[in-house]
Amino acid sequence: MKFRFDRETRRQWKDVVMNVAALLCVAIALIPLGSILLEASLRGVQSLSPNFFTLTNANGGIGNAIQGTLILIALTALIALPVGILTGIYLAEYGKNRFGAGVRFFVEVMTQIPSIVVGIFAFSLILELGAVGIVSPRLVFSTTTGVIALSTIMIPFVARTSEEALRLVPVSTRESALALGIPRYRAILRVVLPSASSAVITGGLLGVARVGGETAPLLMTCLGSSFWFGGLDQPCESLPHTIYVFALGPDAALNQAAWGASLILILMMLGISITSRMIIRLRSVSR
């Protein structure tokens, strides 16, 4: 009898210990997040000044980096959003067969290609095209190449998120639209897509946040530049690249500026991320 009581106690204790361990895991994961946000705020705030936003990186500012990042993001979104969303529409609306399953599988695999490999791809693509004489070889290190790399990262991402968004639209919505006698493509574009719009926009925003923070693929495509944006055929500076260069820089003032740039980048990315959450929340409340 005593033995059974002990075993019961042990089971209960083990239960408590494991539950606490699981909670601890969550706590441990929050430490680096908290530390990053805290350090970036504390150290970053010190370098913020009007000059910080207006000077180029050659003078310790991030003005041209912000400009470059915004241009890169805008151009990438311009290419990746339509292509990604159309792919998502195919996957969700027409891809209910073996081909669709194959496309879905490869799109998922594509989202996981290391970003630096995508950078090498964009570099090599222009290099090979340049060797054949289709484009100018000077274009290898340019904003255009950077946009190619970033689009290659963003397209599969947007395709997946918009497919998931479209799948959340109930079948009855499609049936009602079709029952009105409108053709299928208009049912998709005018009824299904708008119903899923908040989730599609969220996916797009998260995709933007994802490519906005990319550094590795820009190392061999956009390079970096100490000047303001000079055209699509010129190298351009970007915020993550500035952070990289400042972080490895020799003096403390530059390292300080790296934290300032990080703070701005984090605020941009978190801002996008939180905005997209808000969109979901507002939509779901208003329904």
Binding site: I116, L189, I243, L265
Partner: protein, 337 residues
């Protein structure tokens, strides 16, 4: 597993027109509407297959650009441990492959238990009001750009490692060859820790999904037999979803293998194979990032591109494998629900 269509939808897809259209339009097959339908379907299909074509294009272009190096070194590229950019030009990738395997292994060692703890907490234990905010906060770890992790690694984690973590480990386990040498704080160990942090959101999110896919009657059955919360989780939930969790871990591995900036900034960048985790090293990705712009000889550039190809093939194999595992378990979960 085909979704059952209702009759109209099936008719609309297969006949490319709406069933009622026949009544209205007297059965013209080529009205503006049906033309629009097929145009739009073709457009989206072509774009979707174009995206797959992009994947093929990436592979082909990398192969083309790496051709010179592949022809010159053959399989010796994978086993060589010399990278000599001045004549005689010899390029081998073994130290980088080694560094990639070591850091990714460390990342899994630290990251997997924590991620699983998070997944279990979020799907089995957490009070429901805490579940959504916590899930969101853990996901934020994935939203922090890689270069910011690198910055944090240099100025925050690195010093902590150098001053308080690594000396302590060395005091206790210093007799092991993997913990010997000078403690600097920018080394394979630190890079492994950073990678662990970066793969936590991936592993915990996917394994949480796998745990949520476990049907509730599994849990109810275990609880009704008198099992405690943890016993239920272990016997009824974890065992049921182990394929999905395994897939999640492999997905995390894929992320760790390809991660560039954070590793480049914390691993110390030394091209050598050494046993000690406290020694500097290189991964495939960090070597590419450090040397791509410095390559002077076309052959070196081609060798660096081949490194990229090796990295891509590694991550493709890892990810295809992981996807197959995850698909299997999620589908089973759907089928059982």
């Amino acid at each position: 597993m085909d979704k059952p269509y209702i009759a109209e939808e099936r008719f609309a897809i297969e006949g490319r027109m709406h069933p009622f259209r026949k009544l209205q339009g007297g059965g013209q097959r080529f009205s503006a509407a049906t033309l629009g339908d097929s145009l739009f379907q073709w457009l989206s299909t072509i774009v979707a297959f174009g995206v797959i074509g992009l994947l093929a294009l990436i592979t082909v272009i990398l192969f083309l650009a790496a051709q010179e190096s592949i022809r010159t070194f053959g399989l010796g590229f994978l086993t060589g441990n010399v990278w000599n950019p001045v004549p005689p030009l010899v390029f081998g990738s073994l130290p980088f492959v080694y560094g990639t395997i070591v850091t990714s292994g460390l990342a899994l060692l630290f990251g997997v238990p924590i991620s699983l703890g998070i997944a279990i907490f979020l799907s089995e234990l957490s009070p429901s009001w805490l579940r959504i905010p916590l899930t969101y906060i853990v996901e934020l770890l994935a939203a922090v750009p890689s270069v910011v992790y690198g910055l944090w690694g240099i100025f925050v984690l690195g010093p902590v490692m150098r001053v308080s973590v690594e000396p302590v480990i060395q005091d206790i386990f210093g007799f092991l060859p993997i913990f010997q040498g000078n403690v600097i704080g920018t080394d394979k160990f630190t890079a492994g820790v950073i990678l662990a942090i970066m793969i936590i959101p991936t592993i915990s999110a996917v394994s949480r999904e796998a745990l949520l896919a476990v049907p509730d009657n599994q849990r109810e059955a275990a609880l009704s037999l008198g099992a405690t919360r943890w016993e239920t989780t272990r016997v009824a939930v974890l065992r049921y979803s182990r394929a999905g969790i395994f897939g999640a871990i492999i997905l995390g591995l894929g992320r760790a293998v390809g991660e560039t900036m954070a590793v480049t900034m914390t691993i110390g960048n030394r091209n050598a194979i050494s046993l000690s985790l406290f020694d500097q090293g290189q991964t495939i990705a960090s070597w590419i990032a450090n040397n791509f712009l410095n390559a002077t000889d076309p052959l070196e550039l081609s060798a660096l591109i081949e490194l990229g190809l090796v990295l891509m093939l590694m991550s493709l194999v890892i990810n295809v494998f992981a996807r197959l595992m995850v698909y299997r378990v999620l589908r089973r979960g759907e089928g059982a629900a």
